[in-house]
């Protein structure tokens, strides 16, 4: 075959791939896929996995101080779920030919990103409520939309994750609701957490659609199913009502219902802050990665021992 023919065959393959995906059919690990599709997926899925895993830290910060047996149980189970989500997603990414070792290295060297929101500190117990309600609430809007993503292993992981997520947001909202029914100090604590977590939660959906890189391919390939602004709007619309019910104020003077569009209008997000934190200059970027590296390095001898034991056993019985 000459080069021209090969190029033609490639074009043909790409066309039939896109047609297939366009019909809403799923791609499986051993199917042919364009390199761009593979690399976009690896980036997106591993970033998502890293977010789940790094997200364990701000909540883990309060486990030993959880104020009741029930609260401790719920929080621990919730964080454990997040670890599980990270694991499902690492597995999904592994089917694309990248190892977990490589992904962890990318995380630890800063080559791979994770959700910006986890670079903010969890300062009071109310933050545990705010994280569950707002951060998980924002995440689930995105995750529900990804259940129908075109890559089979990713979509299956998302289905499982969404099923498990269903209690996360509720437990956070319950914490906030109880605090708002509590003492003046508790109400103050809850409103303060709301003030600090609202805007970073909105930033979780990413830049405005016009400023979002790699969007076109991602839509055509059904890796992304809804735009950033669309999902953000959905989150705002449902959260405003929930805040009202328990008496919390949303820290946005420009927030108001728009009769015409049937949505809430909201104030502008501080994009300088968004890009600054992405670039590594958030309150806790360095600590979050350092924490991950520390656990990883302290566990190295354990993993080595497990491998050595396996090899010894194999020798014994061969």
């Amino acid at each position: 075959m000459n080069n021209e023919n090969t190029a033609l065959a490639q074009d043909e393959r790409l066309r039939s791939f896109e047609e297939y995906v366009g019909e809403g059919k799923a791609i499986e690990p051993r199917d042919w896929m364009p390199e761009g599709y593979r690399s976009h997926l690896i980036r997106q899925i591993s970033q998502h996995a890293h977010s789940e895993v790094i997200g364990m830290q701000p909540e883990g910060n309060w486990i030993t101080r959880a104020p009741s047996i029930r609260a401790k149980q719920i929080l621990l189970a919730k964080i454990q779920d997040e670890g599980g989500h990270g694991l499902y997603l690492y597995s999904a990414a592994e089917t694309l030919g990248i190892s977990r070792e490589e992904m962890l290295e990318q995380l630890q060297t800063g080559k791979a990103k994770y959700s910006n929101i986890f670079n903010y500190p969890s300062l009071t117990w109310a933050d545990i409520g705010a994280i569950g309600w707002l951060v998980d609430g924002a995440a689930i809007v995105n995750q529900v939309s990804l259940q129908r993503t075109s890559y089979g292993p990713y979509s299956r992981a998302m289905v499982r994750i969404c099923k498990e997520e269903s209690f996360h947001q509720r437990q956070g909202y319950e914490i906030m609701a109880n605090m708002m029914k509590g003492t003046p100090e508790q109400r103050e604590m809850a409103q303060d957490a709301m003030n600090r977590w609202w805007w970073p939660s909105l930033m979780m959906f990413g830049p405005h659609d016009g400023d979002s890189p790699h969007s076109a391919d991602a839509f055509r390939w059904k890796i992304k199913r809804h735009s950033n602004d669309e999902l953000r709007q959905k989150f705002i619309d449902k959260t405003v009502q929930q805040a009202e019910v328990i008496g919390l104020t949303i820290p946005d003077a420009d927030l108001k219902w728009n009769e015409e569009t049937g949505h809430y209008d909201h104030g502008e997000i501080n994009w300088d802050e968004f890009y600054r934190v992405i670039k590594g200059n958030g309150p806790l970027n360095k600590q979050r990665i350092a924490h991950h590296i520390k656990a990883h390095e302290e566990g190295a001898w354990v993993r080595e021992a497990a491998q050595a034991y396996k090899q010894k056993q194999a020798q014994k019985y061969n």
Binding site: G60, I69, G83, A308, Y309
Partner: protein, 253 residues
């Protein structure tokens, strides 16, 4: 409280405290495990223990009959009013330290709850039956890791041996009995701990043998928990654990 309820209350508190304090330690592993899978495994152990603590605290509150909740019992006592065995409050250390603690404790608990299941007190018997299932798993988890680390690399062998040696001095008091034990034993409610010791020891020796590890030397055994005398670690655990309950005594969470 009648005398018998007073005794059962003390017994329930002791068992609740063991589970509650150990769960606190295990929960500290969250996001610090040697591999993601193990992180989740350690959390599962902690969750079993929290559930167990809740069961025994609830019963203690009932026996006391002062209308307290499980949380009042878990969160509103002082250092000298906790009766968990000292080994439960030992810091996590490295992974081998945690596994050694898990091994000693879970093997003890396996034999203990196997007996308590036959208690003439129905609540103790029911709680023990439920706990026994969980403890069997904890024991397998600890034994498997002891063997992997013992028979793994030179480094892991050394670390595991050191951990076992260092915690050995806290195993003696697991079998220590006081008036609560003897009086409840007479009524068929509690377990004869002295009977458990040889079984426990044999079980540990068997695991260590497979792990190519040596049984720690019989050294001085530290005790104190039956009198509520602890190591310095407990106060710090309580400082963390009770912070919100103490700082906002009127708040409900």
């Amino acid at each position: 409280m009648t005398d018998i309820n007073q005794l059962k209350y003390s017994y329930s508190l002791r068992l609740g405290d063991n589970a509650w304090i150990l769960s606190h330690r295990l929960a500290e592993w969250c996001s610090n495990g040697p591999i993601l899978e193990e992180d989740l495994a350690l959390t599962n152990l902690a969750l079993d223990l929290i559930g167990r603590a809740q069961g025994f605290y609830k019963y203690a509150a009932e026996l006391e009959g002062k209308g307290k909740s499980e949380d009042d019992i878990a969160y509103r006592r002082n250092e000298r009013q906790y009766f968990n065995n000292l080994i439960m409050e030992m810091p996590n250390g490295n992974f081998a330290d945690t596994i050694a603690r898990q091994l000693y404790v879970s093997v003890f608990e396996y034999y203990f709850f196997r007996e308590l299941k036959n208690s003439k007190d129905e609540t103790f018997a029911a709680l023990a039956a439920k706990t026994l299932k969980e403890v069997k798993y904890h024991m397998a988890h600890a034994a498997d890791w002891t063997i992997r680390l013992g028979d793994g690399t030179e480094e892991s062998h050394k670390k595991m041996q050191k951990a076992l040696n260092e915690l050995w001095m806290y195993t003696g008091e697991l079998f220590e009995m006081n008036d609560v034990d003897s009086e409840l034993m007479a009524q068929g409610v509690s377990v004869d701990l002295s009977m458990l010791k040889p079984k426990w020891e044999q079980h540990i020796i068997d695991v260590l043998k497979e792990a190519t590890l040596a049984q720690p030397e019989d050294i001085y055994m530290q005790t104190g928990s039956r009198q509520g005398i602890h190591t310095e670690h407990l106060g710090h655990i309580l400082g963390d654990m009770q912070y919100l309950q103490r700082a906002y005594p009127d708040a409900k969470w």
